[in-house]
């Protein structure tokens, strides 16, 4: 498999509100293509919203989000840009329960219009990558929580993203399984070279990353050494 390169991320004074609630306030953050960054902070601090802005799932009310210098929301085809640039892992695996593990990994490839045979080969090799080749034909209900999350990781890698975004990927797992999933995520990042942003309320995850950014009340904690700025 061709290793994807990482992507540079620039969040420039981005703000986002939901009604009267300000989820993010003038947040600025720069992540270089070779980095693995953990975003941490208490519940409701805006971690997931920041990740959604970076992943092109939401548009900032103010400020800019640039991936490799390009604002994802100004791309002619946002969906395509997201598909080609970003892979997502969520707290809940969000696997389609009627489909096998392999078919779940194929789902993003269907979106990319890939042919069936190629899809199958790619999905199978990704399951090998996450150590689940022997579970390829199992339904999600036949997998353990850790295995489901590994399938979700394989799905996130399907379109060879340059930016892997994980939103509390171990939030629903026990400590042993969490450690295994984190091992997988960071080892894949080391092998494949994509930029990795992990949202976690668990501060210890930061030990695995290049640096940690802490959000408090929708702003980056100024005391955090690794935060570039928060205006």
């Amino acid at each position: 498999m061709k290793p994807p390169a990482g992507a540079d991320v620039l969040v420039d004074a981005a703000s986002k509100s939901f009604g009267r609630v300000a989820a993010l306030r003038h947040v600025s953050l720069q992540v270089t293509h070779s980095e693995a960054v953990v975003i941490t902070g208490p519940s409701g601090s805006g971690k997931s919203t920041l990740l959604a802005l970076i992943g092109g799932l939401q548009q900032p009310d103010a400020g800019r989000v640039l991936i490799d210098g390009r604002p994802i929301w100004q791309e002619p085809d946002v969906t395509r840009a997201r598909r080609e640039l970003v892979g997502f892992v969520f707290q809940r695996h969000l696997l389609l329960d009627a489909l096998s593990a392999r078919a779940n990994v194929e789902v993003p490839l269907i979106g990319a219009g890939m042919r069936r045979g190629e899809r199958r080969r790619r999905a199978q090799s990704l399951l090998v990558e996450v150590g689940l080749a022997h579970r390829a034909e199992h339904l999600p209900s036949q997998l353990s929580g850790g295995e489901r999350q590994r399938v979700a990781v394989a799905r996130a890698l399907a379109n060879q993203p340059r930016l892997l975004l994980a939103d509390e990927p171990t939030g629903a797992l026990d400590s042993v399984t969490s450690a295994r999933v984190l091992d997988l995520l960071f080892s894949l990042r080391d092998r494949l070279g994509m930029t990795l942003l992990v949202v976690s309320y668990d501060g210890s995850v930061g030990a695995r990353a290049n640096r940690t950014v802490t959000l408090v009340h929708g702003a980056i904690d100024a005391t955090s050494e690794t935060a570039l700025s928060s205006r």
């Binding site: 997931s48 990740l51 959604a52 992943g55 799932l57 939401q58 085809d77 969906t79 395509r80 997201r82 598909r83 080609e84 997502f88 969520f90 707290q91 809940r92 969000l94 389609l96 329960d97 009627a98 489909l99 078919a103 789902v107 993003p108 269907i110 979106g111 990319a112 799905r155 996130a156 399907a158 379109n159 939103d167």
Partner: protein, 367 residues
Amino acid sequence: MLAIISANLVRRPARTLFTASGIAVGVATIVALASFTQGLRNTAAGFVHLGGSNLGVFQAGVSDPTSSVLPASLAGRLQRSPGVARATPLLLIVEAVKGDAAAITFGADPGGFFARRLVVVDGQRALGADAVLVGDRLAASLRLRPGGVVSIKGHPYRIAGVYHSGILFEDAGAVLALAAAQELASRQGEETSVVVELTPGTRGARAAKAIERRFPGTQAINDPEQAARAGANGTLISKAILVIVVIALIVGAISVANTMALSILERQGELGLLSTVGWSPLRVASLILGEGIAVSVLGAALGLLAGVIGGGLLVGALGVRSYISPSVTAWGLGRGLLVGVAIGVLGGIYPAWRVTRMTPLRALSGT
């Protein structure tokens, strides 16, 4: 995509089946009525060509050809018309045979070509004041035999013989002498129709028009479609089918829309995920539309099967089995299938549109 569509339908089997069943009822009704109408047309074909004639002459403007009334003198005048080889009068009496209300009693001139063409398969060819011939289908259904008695309008007639003509109406009925039939029906000097055999080379449509011009107040029918249109029943059923198609489309589409709308509410996370992993809004909408069409096609398939069976049951329920055989045509089935697919498309449009308006962020929130 197809695998996902089928998996999504299979994982909610009861809902899929109930929705499909609703569509199936509409499609089945359409197919059953279409096959019944086609059966009526086929029967009308036999009605037009009674006795192997080329055309039948009836009173103009009647709602049902059997209620036609013509003067007894018409047959003789028709006989002398250009292009007419032979003409013979008939008096049709309906709901007269005891034990089979659908059987028609034909009053026929014993010397006319209608009576002479009956092939007697059992007994003797004898038509008189108290003697009757019965068709082989009627004989089989009522277990009648030569020498026995059949009651027509409460009057007992001796069965002289059993005939076969190859025309459903005739074989499911009985033939009396015209004079006896007129007396029985208290319609002396009247006839229902005159069946006409044309001279070789004469075109039926042209001859029919010439007859109608020559004898105002009559209608000459030479093709089954014309007969079906002339009969009120066929027209009513054809219009009823149209109404049912519209109702089936509306009710079916609402049913599919309701099911799919419920489905997308339950699957917001899943649909948001598809969008998140790079499915375009059009592709996600296609998935929803595809599911709607798939459940409709399933319903249509069930409906086609039920309609074919239902056509037979309908004929039985109406008590017209003896002279109407439901006929399933490719167009009848195709129409049912088209309605099914149209239901899926119509019912899937709104939920599919709603999906395109959903934000992928729902996947992140896990709702």
